[in-house]
Symmetry: C2
Subunit: 390 residues, 2 copies
């Protein structure tokens, strides 16, 4: 967890405003869920390994005493580890008040109790779009088209997407001789391909499933034919034909979560060493809370990584500092400030310090581009001598 | 805690964008602190009764086991209950990278483990501005001027401010015969004046300090002379002379927290039954973490109440739905959508449902104002028959 300084915060907020506006212009509607959810919802087996990383909130008052006395669970709430589990709970709680097809946008922090390590934070921002209630591939097409458009708007025109389909992957894994109940275990090994290579995957498959599966896996991964999209993905790729070579078939793409049921995708960028977003179809998750199945598909942008890479359009603003000699000029300074703001500038009031040179240089560093001294005799903005800061 | 539906979320975000822009135009810089702070920082005696309402986060792994075995504290982190304690911790941690006078803006959720009751949430949004490093009343003047301006921008032109000064209040309380170590206790009783009236305050003062203090308190509160601002507040009121009768002296204004040292203020609005914001000067709080005293003053807007009262300027947007017969028209629909967005509209794609009347009426409820059917033969936006929704 970390503090965000003014310059970075300003950049983050500008970036989020662009991404938000982009998604909203495509008919996505922003929603919000609380940071805390019932712990039982967060540890119901939907969230894979992330469920082990939940920050748990201690029960309070009598309930805590009773739990301690009974040796029962001490926690009743948890901080969300992603935005997908809360979204499906939200849809189940509120579906009668929501449009039949919900196109949801969420921007918010999530928390994971990971060991502190470089570049990883225990609180970080996610930005998800999800479509709930549409079983057609129009939903996937909209998510991918909208996400690439949002990334373009923040200067990441070179983002590309790798696609796979969970059903194909399952078939391929069954073809290796892995029993269906072990499929997820095999997927988690194959998911490491990027990190440990084909030989590493072979070793782990051998440990888990014996030499025959390992040999079959090695042979499959060594000769993947990915030149052409498989039938299951063709309609989607055709709908996105404008994106052309920015879509790529990746037969070994897994995505860690157990809940995916259809197309899965990951967004890459040449300047990033790992993916900058990802998602997929998860048609049975909403049904877990609601009782009836509702089709759903979502994609999440890794905002922290995107912030590191983004190039935002420059905004032309005038950012002026009014220097006053003492608080005795406060009335006047506040009046001039109001006038300057009215005319479209940003304006900060500061009391002039003894070391005026250091003060001005510090203000330039803070992003202010001009200054003017306010003193007796000045009555309106037109009488100010506004000078450039550099 | 609660879910926020799309229409309310959209209103909230518009309101926050206006308030943010307003403060930023006055030279406030947005910052962000993590939701979780060390529990010791949140329970150091600065936060008054709120310290009892902290959601505490359970230790993890070995540390939890050790704590349980040793009968030690089970929690190490807590969710912040306000934005002031984290800000002073932030300033102490980062002051070398911050401007000499920090004018900070914070917008974020805070959490309090209160009993659930109508209109009170356990997660709610606060919006604070603070000036750290300026001991002059220019700081108070800027905070009050900026806050009233932000409220005006969201349609609350009738907000007014009650002012008092902690030093005057302390003198008045000493004048009742209360020992200085009991001053805060007496303040907390006087703070209830709005709710329990002069007679109620007298009863509680008598229980706490005996009949003489109670009689003196009754006589003081019954004959408050608030027609003229006291000397300690005059320079501030003069600096804000443009606000005229929107500032009012309230000799019995207390504000619950123990950390205030100077001017204190509360914002009221005729349509609200309780205050919609408040704050004051807290010159010794930063010093608690940093070792050296740094002057500070802040004001917090009660965003949840403001959202209920606000009237936002209407935004003229065109919000179109493209209806397609099936996913087979996805390519075309995505192309037309991109064109419409390029021309400044918002545009959502939907598959036409059997009950088209119900679908269109639902879309109108969701804020869409027009629709067009996309089918064979249509190649560009100019060929669309865009019709009004009502």
């Amino acid at each position: 967890m970390r503090d965000i300084l003014p310059a970075e915060k300003s950049f983050r907020e500008q970036l989020l405003a662009i991404v938000r506006a982009n998604y909203i212009s495509r008919g996505f509607q922003e929603i919000e869920t609380p940071a805390l959810e019932d712990l039982s919802k967060l540890t119901s087996g939907q969230g894979g390994d992330n469920e082990k990383l939940v920050f748990q909130v201690l029960k309070r008052g009598e309930e805590l005493e009773q739990a301690q006395a009974a040796g029962a669970s001490l926690a009743d709430l948890g901080l969300r580890f992603d935005l997908t589990v809360p979204l499906t709970r939200y849809y189940a709680s509120n579906h009668s008040k929501l449009p039949r097809v919900l196109k949801a946008l969420q921007v918010g922090p999530v928390w994971r109790a990971e060991r502190p390590q470089k570049g990883r934070y225990r609180q970080f921002l996610q930005c998800d779009i999800d479509i709930i209630g549409d079983s057609t591939m129009l939903a996937e097409a909209e998510l991918l088209s909208a996400s690439l458009s949002a990334l373009e708007a923040v200067g990441l025109e070179d983002a590309t997407i790798r696609l796979n389909h969970r059903q194909l992957l399952s078939e391929n894994i069954a073809g290796l001789g892995v029993a269906s109940e072990d499929a997820l275990k095999a997927m988690i090994i194959i998911d490491k391909l990027d990190k440990i290579g084909v030989a590493g995957v072979r070793t782990e498959l051998e440990e888990a499933f014996g030499p025959e599966v390992a040999a079959a896996g090695h042979s499959w991964l060594s000769s993947l034919d990915q030149t052409e999209f498989p039938e299951a993905l063709k309609p989607l790729v055709e709908a996105l034909s404008d994106l052309g070579p920015r879509l790529r078939y990746d037969a070994s793409l897994v995505r860690g979560m157990g809940y995916y049921t259809g197309a899965i995708f990951e967004i890459e960028h040449p300047a990033a060493t790992s993916s900058i977003g990802g998602g997929g179809r998860y048609d049975s998750m909403v049904g877990k809370w609601l009782g009836t199945e509702v089709p759903a598909v979502g994609i999440s942008l890794g905002i922290e990584r995107i912030i590191e890479l983004a190039k935002l359009p420059e905004i032309e603003t005038s950012n002026t500092v009014l220097l006053i000699e003492s608080e005795a000029h406060a009335v006047l300074a506040l009046k001039l400030q109001a006038e300057l703001i009215e005319s479209g500038s940003s304006c900060r009031i500061e009391i002039r310090q003894k070391n005026i040179k250091a003060q001005l240089s510090n203000l330039a560093t803070q992003g202010f581009d001009s200054f003017a001294s306010v003193g007796d005799g000045i009555k309106s903005v037109s009488e100010l001598d506004i000078r450039k800061l550099d």
